[in-house]
């Protein structure tokens, strides 16, 4: 039977090969599911994973979807490295968007060089403040951050619904749950005129590069890694766990808020009830697929962005529900976690009697 034998030290090769193996496995499994549903598997997987890239504006759409995923994935990588399980980035994204959107609506006549940087500050501020609630509850009251951050994500969603159906609703909007459109200045600069390539697409790789430097080449990055890998060692070294929890939450929350700000100003131009197709949760997969390494998060973010485009393509071209995006993402994470076993284990084929079976 197949047996796992622990390796002496983790395999660097498999640490990077495992995401690729996982992607291949996912395509095969997804194809199997499509075949089971009576769809041509190869064509469906092709439509889902390849065709969006060759569609008109395919690359631009990919960049627009990838930007928030990369930004949030980077933040989560830092937090998860420190064993801080912020899974409520969806909420921090929402509150960041609310803060920035509120500012944009309040100052409709401000010039771009004033309003746009101010929106960025407000977006970050919204995300940081919302995330720090979680940090406070964990450090002060020992409350599990997984549950509190997730509950706050739900609360953030209802806050958004309240605002766009109440105080911030567009009075001229025929009662639709959305705000007025932001001014052109508030929407920010475009990388290329008349496209939706907003400034966040430039900011995402910059953020990733900065985080990569920080994680690998700064004392703070070192402390975060030690706290995650050897909490006792961190304690003996005198690193304050609480301070690192606050920092990890602030960074991941701030980046989520910034992503929310870019999303509503850059691509949507207003606040509405659905500002995110679950970016916050997808960013968790982005983080893991990118090996919790900001450099790996960039390609991982692009791949997961592709699954959103693929869902739309499958809906338009094949009449499938775009919820296959979620299925694909889920399977991908399963396969990745399964394939990761090869990082610290060797797969051996051995007869059962030798070791007396699995004890």
């Amino acid at each position: 039977m197949l047996r796992l034998q622990p390796r002496q030290s983790p395999s660097a090769f498999w640490s990077w090969a495992s995401p690729i193996l996982a992607l291949v496995l996912t395509a095969v499994i997804a194809g199997g599911i499509f075949a089971f549903m009576g769809r041509p598997p190869v064509l469906t997987v092709y439509t889902f994973l390849i065709s969006p890239l060759f569609a008109p504006n395919g690359i631009a759409s990919l960049a627009v979807k990838a930007a928030p995923l990369i930004m949030m994935g980077v933040g989560l990588s830092l937090a998860y490295r420190a064993n801080v399980w912020n899974i409520g980035t969806e909420g921090q994204f929402t509150v960041g968007a609310i803060f920035a959107g509120w500012l944009a609506l309040s100052l409709p006549d401000a010039p771009m060089w004033v309003i746009f940087p101010a929106e960025m500050v407000f977006g970050i501020l919204g995300g940081v403040l919302y995330a720090l609630i979680v940090a406070w509850l964990r450090t002060r009251f020992n409350a599990n951050e997984i549950l509190t951050s997730l509950m706050l994500a739900y609360i953030g969603q209802y806050l958004l619904i309240y605002l766009v159906t109440g105080p911030l609703r567009d009075p001229m909007g025929f009662g639709f749950p959305q705000t007025a459109l932001f001014s052109d200045a508030a929407d920010g600069p475009r990388l290329i005129e008349n496209t939706n390539l907003h400034f966040g697409i430039l900011a995402a790789p910059i953020v990733a590069a900065g985080a990569w430097l920080m994680l690998g080449h700064s004392v703070l990055g070192f402390q975060l890694r030690v706290l995650g890998q050897a909490p006792r060692a961190a304690k003996f070294a005198g690193f304050s766990e609480n301070r690192l929890v606050w920092l990890a939450m602030a960074i991941s929350g701030g980046l989520a808020g910034l992503a929310g700000m870019f999303e509503v100003t850059g691509t949507q131009g207003q606040l509405s009830t659905n500002i995110s197709p679950g970016y916050g949760f997808t960013a968790i997969i982005v983080g893991f697929l990118g090996r919790l390494n900001p450099a790996g998060v960039v390609p991982a973010g692009l791949l997961l962005a592709l699954t959103y485009l693929g869902g739309d393509a499958a809906q338009i071209n094949l009449g499938l529900s775009n919820s296959i995006t979620g299925i694909f993402q889920g399977i991908l994470l399963f396969c990745l976690l399964g394939a990761d076993v090869l990082i610290s284990n060797r797969l051996l084929w051995r007869r059962r009697s030798v070791a007396g079976g699995r004890a």
Partner: protein, 307 residues
């Protein structure tokens, strides 16, 4: 007044049942020190499996079995990844939820807005015939009773039986349990499967009785609330019941107040159960000593036999 009170009790019982079922399952899972964060996903799978089978066959018991099987299938996946392949439990649980969301939405796309047979109410002799309120207060569908029975059985099993002792031993000191000859991994598999079955059943209760319809994402965070309940109860079955009723009460309150037409925006009232969860978690967790006392010592730690 009596009518209002009866209404309250009936509504709270109904709202508490899916939480109670899922939390009882997760309690057993966490007692063997496994943390499965995929409850929400398993409940969604149970909800759509139960609803679809009920709609297609009209057989409710078949629908419940399908829901249980759906929950167990996902939890089996979880067990293979975390117990056999030693994958990270937090990440795998999240994967379960993401996958369950997507899969239930895909399968459920054809079932939105249609009806399925719903669970019948059970008529208890004598009690249901009591004048005034007997007919409402003592006629629930079978799952409400089942949830209470399963909770009591779980409490008895954990406290009073040899099996329960083994379960707790594995949760508190898996290496010692292994040395004593207990099959740690196998028993954890069974516990995780039980958790999946209970979550599936909880989901079916949602789609076949509580809001007898299928809607995308209809579990709406109840799986996460169930997880919070286990912590709230400090891994003690009786407190699970208190917690479930408390949350059932908050959920009822947020709906009831919306119905009254008070000038509080309904979106904020809908957020009430989630705020309540945070508050309760905070109140419970601040007592670090009590948490440490009751928390299965090996919670979330992988086990690998070394022989």
């Amino acid at each position: 007044m009596i009518e209002l009170l009866v209404n309250l009790i009936v509504s709270v019982m109904a709202a508490a049942t899916p939480l109670l079922l899922a939390a009882t399952g997760e309690l057993i899972v966490e007692k063997v020190a496994v943390l499965n964060l995929g409850v929400e996903g398993m409940m969604l799978m149970g909800a759509i499996a139960g609803f679809a089978v009920a709609h297609e066959t009209g057989q409710l018991w078949l629908a419940l079995l399908a829901a249980i099987a759906a929950g167990m299938t996902l939890s089996f996946l979880f067990a293979v990844l975390t117990l056999t392949l030693q994958a990270n439990q937090t990440a795998t649980g999240l994967a379960l939820t993401i996958f369950g969301r997507g899969f239930s939405a895909l399968v459920g796309a054809g079932y939105v807005g249609i009806a399925a047979p719903t669970l019948p109410k059970i008529h208890l002799p004598v009690l249901s015939d009591l004048p005034f309120f007997g007919a409402t207060l003592f006629s629930y569908d079978p799952i409400i009773y089942l949830a209470l029975i399963l909770l009591a059985a779980t409490a008895y099993f954990l406290r009073r039986t040899h099996g329960g002792l083994i379960l707790r031993a594995i949760g508190d000191q898996h290496d010692a349990a292994h040395v004593l000859g207990y099959r740690v991994i196998r028993i954890r598999y069974l516990a995780v499967l039980f958790g999946g079955a209970m979550s599936g059943l909880a989901g079916a209760y949602m789609s076949l009785s509580y809001t007898p319809l299928w809607a995308q994402d209809m579990i709406a965070g109840r799986g996460w609330v169930a997880l919070a309940l286990v912590t709230f109860a400090a891994w003690r079955p009786f407190w699970l019941l208190i917690g479930a009723w408390l949350f059932g009460g908050i959920m009822y309150l947020s709906l009831y107040v919306q119905g009254l037409g008070v000038p509080v925006p309904s979106a904020l009232l809908s957020a009430l159960p989630y705020m309540g969860t945070v508050v309760v978690l905070v109140l419970i967790s601040r007592d670090r000593r009590r948490i440490r006392l009751h928390r299965p010592a090996m919670l979330g730690r992988p086990f690998q036999a070394t022989n």
